[in-house]
C-alpha cells in the first residue's frame, strides 16, 4: 500500500469513468461516470494526505465532494428535462443543433 499503488488505483478509476462517459447513451449513466472521475481525484487527494501526513488533502476532498454533488444535482435536473422534452433520456435524442 504505497503512494504509487493508490495513484494507480485512482488512475484506473479515472479511466473507467472516462470509458463510461464516452460509451453510455443514457444521460444518467454518463452522470455516474463523471462522478467516478471526480472520486478518482478524491482518492488521489486522500492518498497524498495519508502518505505526507498533512490534513490538506482531506480538506480539499471535502470541498471537491461538495462541488461534484452540486454538479450532479444540476445534471439530474437536466436529465429530467431531457426526458420531458425529448421523450427519451438517451443523448442521441438531442442532436438538432449542428453544422
Amino acid at each position: 500500500m504505497t503512494l504509487t499503488t493508490c495513484l494507480l488505483l485512482a488512475s484506473a478509476l479515472f479511466s473507467v469513468g472516462v470509458y463510461g462517459l464516452l460509451t453510455r447513451q443514457q444521460l444518467v449513466a454518463v452522470l455516474v461516470s463523471v462522478e467516478l472521475m471526480a472520486n478518482a481525484a478524491n482518492i488521489v487527494l486522500v492518498a497524498f494526505s495519508h502518505f505526507t501526513a498533512s490534513p490538506l488533502g482531506q480538506v480539499f476532498t471535502l470541498f471537491a465532494l461538495a462541488i461534484t454533488v452540486a454538479e450532479v444535482a444540476v445534471g439530474l435536473a437536466l436529465a429530467l428535462l431531457l426526458y420531458r422534452t425529448h421523450a427519451s433520456s438517451r443523448l442521441d435524442a438531442a442532436k438538432e443543433m449542428n453544422g
Binding site: L21, L22, L91, A94, K95, E96, M97, N98, G99
Partner: protein
C-alpha cells in the same frame, strides 16, 4: 540666354499666342464656335496677326538683327529649371514662320468659301482646329530647344488627327485619322528616346548639344526615325494617302506644306547634331531617294487627284531628306520652302476643281480648261513648278538638291532622283491633260469657275511658286545654311530635259482627246502594288499581332491571375465547409474532444 520680356521679340510671342488665344476662346465659348462665321473671323484675325509678326521678324533678321530668344524653364529638378519654354528667333525659324503663316492664311481664306455649305457648328469646329494647328506649328517653329519642339510636334500630330477625322461621321475618316495618329505616335517613340539620351549626356535639350560621334549618330538616328513617321518616308508613309479623307484645304495646309515638312525642319533645326552623324546621313540619303522614286511610281497610277498629289508630296519629301542626307542643308530647306508654295497651290486648285465637280476621281473630270480657266492656269503653273521647269521656283530648289548629289561617289541616289524628276513630270502631265483637256466627262460638263475667295489665294500662291526661286541667295544668307550659287552645269540641263521629256510622254499617252482608258492598265499595276505593299503588313500587324496579344493577356489576367485569387477564396470556403461536419451536434462527441484534448495535453506535459 534669358533676356527680360521687354526686348523679347514681341512679334514672336504674338505669333504664338494669337492663334493660341483664338483656339482657347473658341474652345471655351461653345456659343461663339457654334455660330460658325464669327469663329472663322477670329481664326483669320489670329492668322493675319501671326503673318504680320512673322513678316516683321523676317524683316528684322534680314536687316542684320542678331538672333534673339526669350525663354523660361518649364520643369524643376533639384531646385533649378529643366527644359526651356519660350520663343527663339533666328534666320531659320523666321523664314519657316513666314512660309507657314502665308500658306495658313491662304488656306484659311480658301476654306471660308470651300467649307461654306458645312453646318455652322461644324464650320466653327473646323476653324477652331485651324487656330489650334497654327498655334502648335508656330510653337514648333519657334522652339528654343528640342523639348518644346517635341511638344509642338505632338500637338501638330493631334490637330492632324482631329482635322483628318473632321467628317467624323464617315467611318473611313475615323480609320484614317487613327492610322495617321498611331503611326506618327509610333515614330515619336524615337523622338522621346532621343530626348532621353540627350538628357542623360547633357542634362539639357539644346539643338547645338556637343555630342561624341557615336552618341550623335544615336540621337540623330532616333530623331530620323521620328522624321520618317512624320514626313511619311518609306516604311511609315502609308498614312499620308489615307489622310486625304480630311477636307482638301486641310490636305493643302497640313499634308503638303507645313506639318509633313516639320520632319525636315527638325533636321535643319538640329543641324549641329546631324553634322556629327555621318552614318545617319547616309541612311537619310538612301531612304530619301528610295521614297522619292517609290512614291513617284505610285503617283503615276492613282485615279484620285488628291492621292496623286499625296504621293507626289511623299516623293518631294524624299527629295528634301535625300538633300539633307547628302549634307546640303540649304538644298533641303530651300526645296521645302518652294515645295510648300507650289504643292499648296496644286492642292487648293485641286480643291477648287473638286468643289466644282464634287468628286475626286479623274474619270469625272475633263476639259475643265474651258469652264474653269483660272483654276486650270493655277494648276498648270503648280505642275510646272513641281516638275522643275526652268524659271519656276521648283527648278531652282531641285537644282540645288541635285547639285548636292552630283559630287557624291554613290551614283544610285542621283539616278533615282533623276528618274523621279522624269516620273514627276509624267504624272503631273497626265493629271493636267486628263482633267483639263479633252472632252468633259461625267459631272464635269456643268462645272463652273470658283468664287473670288477661292481664286485669290490661288493667285497669291501662283505668284510665289514662280517668284520665290529667284531669292535663293537672300534665303541662303538669312538662314545661314550654306552659300548659294546659281550654276549652269550638266545637272540642271539633264533635269530640265527629263522634265520636258516627261511632259512629252504624258502628251503622247493622254493628250489630244485620247480616252483615258490607258489609265485602266496602269490601275492594275496600282492594285497589285498596293496589296503587296506595306499596307497589308501594317493591317495584319495591328489586327492579328496587337489585338490578339491583348486578348491573350486580357484572358490571362481574368482567368489565371484573378482565377488564383478566386481559387484561394474558394479553398477557404471549402475548408470552412469541411470544418462544419466536425460539429456533429451529438453531445458525447463533444465530450470525447474534451477528454482527448486533456489527455493529449497531459501526455505532452509528461513527455516534454
Amino acid at each position: 540666354m534669358r533676356s527680360p520680356l521687354s526686348e523679347a521679340p514681341l512679334a514672336a510671342l504674338v505669333a504664338v499666342l494669337a492663334p493660341a488665344l483664338a483656339a482657347l476662346l473658341l474652345a471655351v465659348l461653345p456659343m461663339v464656335r457654334r455660330r460658325g462665321a464669327p469663329a472663322a473671323w477670329i481664326c483669320l484675325a489670329s492668322s493675319v496677326a501671326s503673318l504680320v509678326s512673322a513678316g516683321l521678324l523676317l524683316a528684322g533678321q534680314l536687316g542684320e538683327a542678331e538672333p534673339m530668344a526669350w525663354t523660361t524653364s518649364w520643369l524643376t529638378l533639384d531646385g533649378q529649371g529643366l527644359g526651356e519654354l519660350g520663343v527663339n528667333v533666328d534666320g531659320i525659324s523666321a523664314s519657316m514662320l513666314v512660309v507657314v503663316t502665308i500658306v495658313a492664311l491662304c488656306v484659311q481664306v480658301f476654306s471660308v468659301s470651300y467649307m461654306h455649305d458645312e453646318p455652322p457648328d461644324a464650320y466653327g469646329r473646323y476653324f477652331t482646329y485651324h487656330a489650334l494647328f497654327l498655334f502648335s506649328m508656330n510653337l514648333l517653329v519657334l522652339a528654343p530647344d528640342l523639348l518644346q519642339l517635341f511638344a509642338g510636334w505632338e500637338l501638330v500630330g493631334v490637330t492632324s488627327y482631329l482635322l483628318i477625322g473632321f467628317y467624323y461621321r464617315k467611318p473611313s475618316a475615323g480609320r484614317a485619322a487613327l492610322k495617321a495618329f498611331w503611326i506618327t505616335k509610333l515614330a515619336d517613340m524615337g523622338f522621346i528616346l532621343a530626348l532621353a539620351v540627350l538628357f542623360t549626356s547633357t542634362s539639357a535639350f539644346r539643338f547645338d548639344a556637343e555630342l561624341s560621334t557615336p552618341l550623335a549618330n544615336v540621337v540623330a538616328g532616333l530623331l530620323f526615325f521620328a522624321v520618317v513617321g512624320k514626313s511619311a518616308q518609306f516604311p511609315l508613309h502609308i498614312w499620308l494617302p489615307d489622310a486625304m479623307e480630311g477636307p482638301t484645304p486641310v490636305s493643302a495646309l497640313l499634308h503638303a506644306a507645313t506639318m509633313v515638312a516639320a520632319g525636315v525642319f527638325l533636321v535643319v533645326r538640329a543641324d549641329p547634331i546631324f553634322a556629327h552623324a555621318p552614318d545617319t546621313r547616309e541612311v537619310m540619303l538612301v531612304v530619301g531617294s528610295l521614297t522619292a522614286l517609290f512614291a513617284a511610281g505610285l503617283a503615276t497610277v492613282q485615279t484620285d487627284i488628291k492621292k496623286v498629289l499625296a504621293y507626289s508630296t511623299c516623293s518631294q519629301l524624299g527629295y528634301m531628306v535625300a538633300a539633307l542626307g547628302a549634307g546640303s542643308t540649304l538644298g533641303g530647306y530651300f526645296h521645302l520652302t518652294t515645295h510648300a508654295f507650289f504643292k499648296a497651290l496644286l492642292f487648293l486648285s485641286a480643291g477648287s476643281v473638286i468643289h466644282a465637280v464634287h468628286s475626286n476621281e479623274l474619270a469625272d473630270m475633263g476639259g475643265l480648261r474651258k469652264r474653269m480657266p483660272l483654276t486650270a492656269t493655277a494648276f498648270i503653273v503648280g505642275s510646272l513648278a513641281l516638275a522643275g521647269i526652268p524659271g519656276t521656283a521648283g527648278f531652282f530648289s531641285k537644282d540645288l538638291v541635285l547639285a548636292a548629289l552630283e559630287g557624291r561617289m554613290g551614283w544610285l541616289p542621283y539616278v533615282a532622283l533623276m528618274t523621279t524628276a522624269f516620273l514627276t513630270a509624267f504624272y503631273m502631265g497626265r493629271v493636267v491633260l486628263v482633267a483639263f483637256f479633252g472632252e468633259a466627262r461625267g459631272k464635269a460638263d456643268h462645272a463652273h469657275e470658283s468664287g473670288a475667295l477661292m481664286l485669290g489665294p490661288l493667285a497669291v500662291l501662283a505668284v510665289l511658286s514662280l517668284g520665290v526661286g529667284y531669292f535663293g541667295a537672300h534665303f541662303a544668307e538669312v538662314t545661314a545654311t550654306g552659300e548659294y550659287h546659281l550654276h549652269f552645269g550638266m545637272t540642271p540641263a539633264i533635269a530640265s530635259g527629263l522634265a520636258l521629256g516627261g511632259f512629252a510622254l504624258a502628251y503622247a499617252v493622254f493628250g489630244g482627246g485620247r480616252d483615258a482608258s490607258g489609265v485602266g492598265v496602269l490601275a492594275l499595276l496600282d492594285g497589285a502594288a498596293r496589296s503587296a505593299l506595306v499596307d497589308r503588313t501594317y493591317e495584319a500587324l495591328y489586327r492579328h499581332g496587337m489585338l490578339n496579344a491583348a486578348a491573350a493577356i486580357g484572358w490571362f489576367d481574368r482567368y489565371v491571375m484573378d482565377g488564383l485569387v478566386n481559387l484561394s477564396g474558394w479553398l477557404t470556403l471549402v475548408a470552412a465547409r469541411s470544418l462544419r461536419r466536425l460539429q456533429s451536434g451529438f453531445a458525447p462527441d463533444y465530450v470525447f474532444a474534451v477528454v482527448l484534448g486533456a489527455l493529449a495535453l497531459a501526455a505532452w506535459g509528461y513527455l516534454s
